[in-house]
Amino acid sequence: AQSVAQPEDQVNVAEGNPLTVKCTYSVSGNPYLFWYVQYPNRGLQFLLKYITGDNLVKGSYGFEAEFNKSQTSFHLKKPSALVSDSALYFCAVFSGTYKYIFGTGTRLKVLA
């Protein structure tokens, strides 16, 4: 069965420092991987996706993610964190062709 794991419930980082939010996956076949962000009382917003091609995927708001097949990871990164990046981040994988399997989420807190 397809699954994703986000091992950290919360990540704290100082503004201006690089941030990493971790995600590992378990899939059969080629993985289709996604990151979404959720601000309070808002829906999920798409950040980026990996389908195939370059292992480094660039997305919205300066975020990027690195696909690592050998480590079955898809960590979200940003070179310099902003206070406004504070939110809940979800990693997801497609199960089949349309159904997301989401991780439990990681709360990112960027400290001024």
């Binding site: 009382n41 829906g43 996706k49 997801a92 349309y98 159904k99 997301y100 989401f102």
Partner: protein
């Protein structure tokens, strides 16, 4: 509209009451999804429509849950005889096509059953 619109934003229901949650997807989006997000959890798939056809309802937790999209645009998720465990945020998402694209999610309806 510019985004996926859900109503109401908040709903408090007494246990045993029936509720109806509405989703207005982006115009022209063929695919529509419902997800349930319990407190502190990631969203979980409920059901999928392609136009008016409900192609997958495997995630609906019980026969008290029913979804429809009769004209291939607006969708309604109905929960009969609500229970406390139904308390969650219900998210609707739409997409112009299925696979491999990022979906546009609505802000959700927060249902609290008391």
């Amino acid at each position: 509209g510019a985004g996926v619109s859900q109503s109401p934003r908040y709903k408090v229901a007494k246990r045993g009451q029936d509720v109806a949650l509405r989703c207005d997807p982006i115009s022209g989006h063929v695919s529509l999804f419902w997800y349930q997000q319990a407190l502190g959890q990631g969203p979980e798939f409920l059901t999928y429509f392609q136009n008016e056809a409900q192609l997958d309802k495997s995630g609906l937790p019980s026969d008290r849950f029913f979804a429809e999209r009769p004209e291939g645009s607006v969708s309604t998720l109905k929960i009969q005889r609500t229970q406390q465990e139904d308390s969650a945020v219900y998210l609707c998402a739409s997409s112009p096509r299925v696979p491999h694209s990022g979906y546009t999610f609505g802000s959700g309806t927060r249902l609290t059953v008391v």
